[in-house]
């Protein structure tokens, strides 16, 4: 499979700061890859390298076989920056037409992308009257115009309400079905809503995970949380029986590995009337993300709880 973006052992150093260290990442045509990481993890730096705004201090990047920033490479890539801004005096339609012309795209495409991002009604209003979500959608429209082969989206869903976020991922799925490679960055896994084919997680300039979401969940092997609400007065004996920690005067909470789940659940059911309710929670996407981006699980610390009952 020929990848549109191919980054090989890329490092980027700004004076004393090592922004990227030995990052290798590829995105194939039609593939959607999410790049996750905290602020300062190196996501935007990687984007600027792919755009050719800066040159890596080590390693190499190629865009459909071309050098980043070269004329041929810039024909391939479409970019949506994190803080997208447009000349305030222009209307939405003028903005999209402007970028369509710069990209040498057909003028008919302008109306089509405005339609796609649902900005047709506001298209002839000036950009300074737009809300943040509308500006973001306008940014997406200028990125989509001209059928790029690679979409580079820097935190495209921040500032969007859940409904427009949903719509946004539908649009992205649509362009990737046509063979466009999509690389987008995001703050957290939950924001992605498990919509991308692959997830790459960065921490302090290094790529710490790269794979389909299910694989990452498996790799993290996070414990399952079991919360047991004891019947009145039975909390101490339940605690003694199953262990874990008491979180208040009625409940006991414990974490177990995936393989131990059934054994512990049967033990709990053996307690009979002493147990009022059981709640089992698999690790959330956010917990999986935190595992990779913080290198390990945060220890849950709780003090002893004194119950007078």
């Amino acid at each position: 499979m020929t990848e549109i973006v191919k980054a090989r052992n890329v490092s980027m150093k700004f004076k004393a700061v090592e922004a990227l260290t030995d990052v290798s990442l590829g995105v194939a045509p039609g593939e959607q890859v999410a790049l996750l990481g905290h602020n300062g993890a190196g996501k935007t730096t990687l984007f600027r390298l792919i755009l050719g705004f800066i040159k890596p201090t080590a390693g190499s990047i190629s865009i459909a076989g071309f050098m980043p920033g070269s004329d041929a490479a810039r024909h391939v890539v479409s970019y949506l920056p994190e803080q997208v801004a447009f000349p305030k005096m222009l209307t939405g339609r003028e903005v999209v037409r402007f970028y369509a012309r710069l990209k040498g795209a057909a003028p008919e495409g302008v109306q089509a992308v405005l339609d796609k991002v649902e900005l047709v009604e506001a298209a002839d209003r000036r950009v300074d009257t737009y809300s943040k979500g509308m500006r973001q959608r306008l940014g997406l429209a200028q990125a989509l115009v001209g059928n790029p082969r690679l979409l580079l989206l820097d935190e495209p869903t921040s500032g969007l309400d859940p409904l427009s976020r949903q719509h946004f991922y539908e649009l992205i799925a649509d362009v990737s079905r046509r063979g466009c490679a999509v690389l987008l960055s995001s703050h957290g896994l939950s924001e992605l809503e498990a919509k991308t084919d692959r997830v790459a997680i960065m921490r302090k300039g290094r790529l710490v995970a790269d794979g389909p979401l299910a694989e990452l969940q498996h790799q993290a092997d996070l414990p399952i949380r079991i919360r047991v609400r004891a019947a009145a007065g039975a909390v101490a004996s339940v605690h003694a029986e199953i262990g874990g920690g008491r979180i208040n005067c009625a409940s006991v909470e414990l974490y177990c590995a995936k393989g131990d789940k059934m054994r512990i659940l049967s033990k709990i059911s053996g307690l009979g009337a002493q147990v009022e309710d059981v709640d089992v929670a698999s690790p959330t996407l956010d917990e999986v993300y935190r595992y990779f981006s913080n290198n390990g699980i945060e220890q849950i610390q709780r003090g002893e709880i004194q119950c007078t009952a």
Binding site: R48, P81, V84, P87, M89, Y99, L102, K103
Partner: protein, 276 residues
């Protein structure tokens, strides 16, 4: 080429929308009309064409006002757009940075040309009509003033891009633009005057001074317009210096044109190194 035209057209559109064109036109018109009204009285006495006298005063006005307007147009072009985040997308699109700069340049020069034509055109027409018409040659003088003012403006637009591309903050670029203006149209002339006073008939006055005068695009512009008016036999106080000038007539305009080319080349060179 397509990119150049698109960027230039957008700059003109923005110039119209944000009222830059109308505002600078009105400023030029206001100053020009003041000079027209004040200049009409002596014009009758000296027996020269009133319009020609107005053109002479307007060219002095141009030396100060046109570079200022030009620098105000251009200082924001790169630093400000990077600051606000509007230039990143343009630089990511398949248009070369040289083409981006040339497009902006053509757009800004067009904005300035419209303002100058409007301001000086109306003022010239008022002077022409107020004096009950006159020789049509005088109107050619107005046209020459508009054309040469536009070239002078183009020079300072290009110089403003150097300031705008060299710094990251708009505020710094603005300060730099004002400093350039102050140096080129005020301090430079004062320094030359000081030099002349120090050596009234020495090597400086005879050999260095004329070259230094032509070297400054604003002074070259003034020389060109004064010598053109001299040809129409209006007494000019520059007559003495004029005889020793290394370049005369239209040739003096080589200075602003050369400055424009150098400044555009230099700002493209700097822009290519900008990492947005």
């Amino acid at each position: 080429m397509h990119g150049v035209i698109t960027i230039a057209a957008t700059e003109i559109r923005i110039g119209l929308r944000n009222r830059w064109i109308i505002l600078s036109s009105l400023i030029l018109l206001a100053f020009a009309l003041i000079l027209v009204l004040l200049g009409s009285a002596p014009g009758g006495e000296v027996k020269t064409d009133a319009v020609t006298v107005v053109v002479a005063s307007l060219s002095t006005l141009s030396v100060y006002l046109v570079p200022l307007i030009a620098l105000l147009l251009s200082y924001d072009a790169i630093a400000g757009e990077i600051d606000r985040g509007t230039l990143q997308l343009v630089l990511a699109s398949p248009v070369s940075r040289g083409a981006v700069l040339v497009g902006k340049f053509l757009g800004h020069v067009a904005v300035l040309a419209i303002a100058v034509s409007f301001g000086y055109g109306i003022a010239g027409l008022v002077a022409f009509l107020a004096n009950g018409g006159g020789e049509a040659v005088a109107l050619i003088g107005v046209g020459r003033l508009i054309a040469s003012s536009t070239i002078l403006g183009a020079t300072f637009i290009a110089i403003g891009y150097i300031a705008s591309a060299s710094v990251r903050q708009t505020g710094t670029a603005a300060a730099l633009a004002i400093a350039i203006w102050l140096f080129a149209v005020v301090l430079y002339d004062l320094a030359l005057l000081g030099g002349l006073l120090a050596s009234q008939d020495g090597f400086f006055a005879r050999t260095v001074f004329p070259w230094l005068l032509v070297f400054n695009p604003a002074d070259a512009f003034r020389l060109y317009n004064m010598s053109a008016i001299d040809a129409l036999a209006v007494g000019s106080n520059l007559g003495g210096a004029g005889s020793a000038l290394p370049l005369s007539g239209l040739a003096t305009m080589v200075s602003p044109v050369a400055w424009t080319a150098i400044a555009l080349g230099l700002s493209t060179f700097i822009l290519k190194r900008v990492r947005p």
